[in-house]
Each structure stands twice: as C-alpha cells, then as structure tokens.
C-alpha cells in the first residue's frame, strides 16, 4: 500500500491534499521514508545504466549519410519514361533470349531483368527490404563494380552476404545508380554478368 502511494507520488497522481499528507508522512514515518528512498535509488540506478560512453564520430558521420540518402528523392523520372524503359528492357531480354536460345540462361537473366524493371518502374524508388532476389543481385561483384559502388557504399557486404540480411546495404545509393544508367549500360552489365556466369 505504501509502495503504491510512493509510486503515485512519483507519477504525480496524487491530488494536492494527498501530496501534502504524503510529504508529512514521509517526514514522520521512518518505514515510509526507507521505502521511498529504496524506490528512488532503484530508479536512479536504472537511469545510470544509460550513462555510457559512445563513439562521437558516429554522430559526425550522420549528416553526410543523410545527404546521400536524400539523393534519390531529388531525382524525378516521369512515369511514362519509366514504363518505356521497362518495355524496352523486356524487348531486349526477349530478343537476347531468342538469339542465344539458351534456356538455362533465361532464368538467370530474368532475375536481373525483373529487379531492374521493378526498380525502374517504382515511382517512389522504394525497395522492399525483404526482396530476396535483390540480395543475389546486389551482392554481385560485377554489378557493384559496374555501378561504381565503392567499399563505403557497401561496406557491410560481407555481413550482408553471410547473414542474408539487407539491413545495412545502401539501397538508396544502388538504386540511384541504377535509375541513372542508360539502356546500353544496363545491357552491358547484364551481358557481362551472364558471360561471367556469376550468381
């Protein structure tokens, strides 16, 4: 009972008269006083748990990260242009498939094709973090090299591959690079990836 009263006082749930009575009792009742001190001490202990030393360089690095993250939002491609890109890409892959007549290659290329089309046709440029095909796509060294992504952009790549996690991958950077490529650059990457048979 006294415990709840103390907690009510600390939560500011007591009325003015109840508060006055509580403070009077606190001065006169030793048991209540000890219980009060114990509760306050425990709350202080919890607060001290957050008294830690952090690497301040992290905070300094935030603004450049934010500016990089904002880049895709400033780049607008009209919806009709995105649709055109998607149609041209589909045409290219169909033609390529017919010429090569290699059924084994179809599924490999189709994976990349779908990803690029998905990226290009998304007006908000928002990638699903759970997009599993993208894991394979984004961890391809040929692609990363072609997209001119450096270690800073994908500095988490080893963890990213081993954990199959997309959590730390810089999607915005990759996305930005992809939507800025022209068709021949995309074709060139797909071709090289296929030639190297990298998956």
């Amino acid at each position: 009972m006294s415990r709840d009263r103390i907690l009510q006082y600390l939560s500011d749930l007591l009325s003015e008269s109840e508060k006055e009575k509580f403070l009077d009792d606190l001065n006169s009742d030793q048991t209540l006083k000890e219980e009060y001190q114990k509760i306050v001490l425990n709350l202080d202990k919890v607060k001290q748990l957050n008294d830690v030393e952090a690497d301040e360089r992290y905070f300094a690095s935030l603004i450049p990260k934010i500016k990089e993250r904002k880049q895709p939002k400033t780049f607008k491609i009209p919806a009709y242009a995105l649709t055109s890109i998607a149609v041209v890409l589909i045409g290219f892959f169909v033609t390529f498939d017919i010429l090569e007549n290699g059924k084994g290659k179809t599924s490999l290329i189709a994976g990349y094709e779908n990803v690029i089309i998905d990226l290009a046709s998304d007006p908000n440029y928002n990638l699903s973090e759970e997009f599993t095909d993208f894991d394979i796509f984004a961890s391809n060294e040929v692609l990363l090299d072609k997209l001119d992504l450096n270690e800073n952009d994908v500095d988490i790549l080893p963890e990213f591959q081993s954990n199959n996690s997309t959590e730390y991958f810089d999607y915005n950077q990759l996305e930005y690079q992809i939507i800025n490529m022209n068709q021949s650059e995309v074709n060139s990457i797909i071709k090289e990836m296929d030639e190297n048979k990298i998956l």
Binding site: L7, V46, N50, V52, D55, Y58, L62, I63, I66
Partner: protein, 181 residues
Amino acid sequence: MTEKSDFELVEEFLDGSEIAFNTIAARHRNNIYWHARRMLGNHFDADEITQQVLVVLYEKLNTFNFNSALSTWIYSITAKRAINQLRKRKVREVLNFDDAHNWKLSVSDDIVRNYEDKEKLKKLNYVLDKLPFKQRQIFVLRHFDELNYDEIAEITNRSVGSIKANYFHAIKKVTELMENE
C-alpha cells in the same frame, strides 16, 4: 555570439541554408539516437531510425508550424517511428523464430565499445523489454529524455492522465525488477 534558436535556424533552412539544417541536425541528433536506442535496444535499429528521422526533418521542415518547440516535433517523429519499428520487430519475432534474435548478435559495429558500458545497456534493455510498448515509450520519454507530462502528451497524442497512469505502471514494474535482480 549568441546561439541561434531552433526557430531562427528553421527559417534560415527554409530560405535555402544547408548550414542551418546541419546545425539543427547536430543539435538534435543525439537525442534522436538515444531515444531510439532506448526504445529498440540496439545500435542498428537506432541508427536506422535516426537516419530516417533526419531525412524526414530535411524534407518536412516546411510543414513545421512553429506552434510547439522544434524538439517536441522531432521527438514526436522519432517516438512514432521507434515504436512502429519495435512493433514490426515483435511481429517478425513471432512469425519467424530463426531470425528473431539476429539483431542481438550484430553488435560488432556498435558505437558503445567499452565492455562495461555494453553490459549496462544490456541490463537496461532487459528491464525496458519487460514493459509494454506504450509504457516503455512513456517511461523513456519521462525518465531518460526528461520531458514533462505536457510535452509527452503532445508527442504521443495522449491525455496527461493516461500518461501519468502509464508512467505509474512502468515505474512499478521497473522498480520491482531492480529489487529482484
């Protein structure tokens, strides 16, 4: 030279000053990060929320109405995103047991490097994890971010009475846990 107020900086930013935005971000980034970290219990989620909030700040500062403190507005964005992230994580944990605790293992890039400090945060997270989301949020805003009830009411869009009640239940649970350790 006197430091510019948040309002002055917002106005300068809206007039096109990137430096003003950098100053706002530098002024509030620690509060954003540590609120998110206390809510989510790990660096990676906190980092993600911090970056998201700063991006929102950059893009939506033109919608800030100057009726409340900028810090209150920033806290409301941070608190909302942090609690949503917490909910999403809990759902993922329920649906997929294999991935449930992966984030807890990814500690190598943590900005807290000292072993003792890591242990302290681990213990803090253990305690906060025992609270329901809303209680956790209100306890963090009140006890760590040191906001008053009116500010918390504005941030969480709840009545002061309900916040006091939540805080009461939170400190009851927290003190019990501390006594039983």
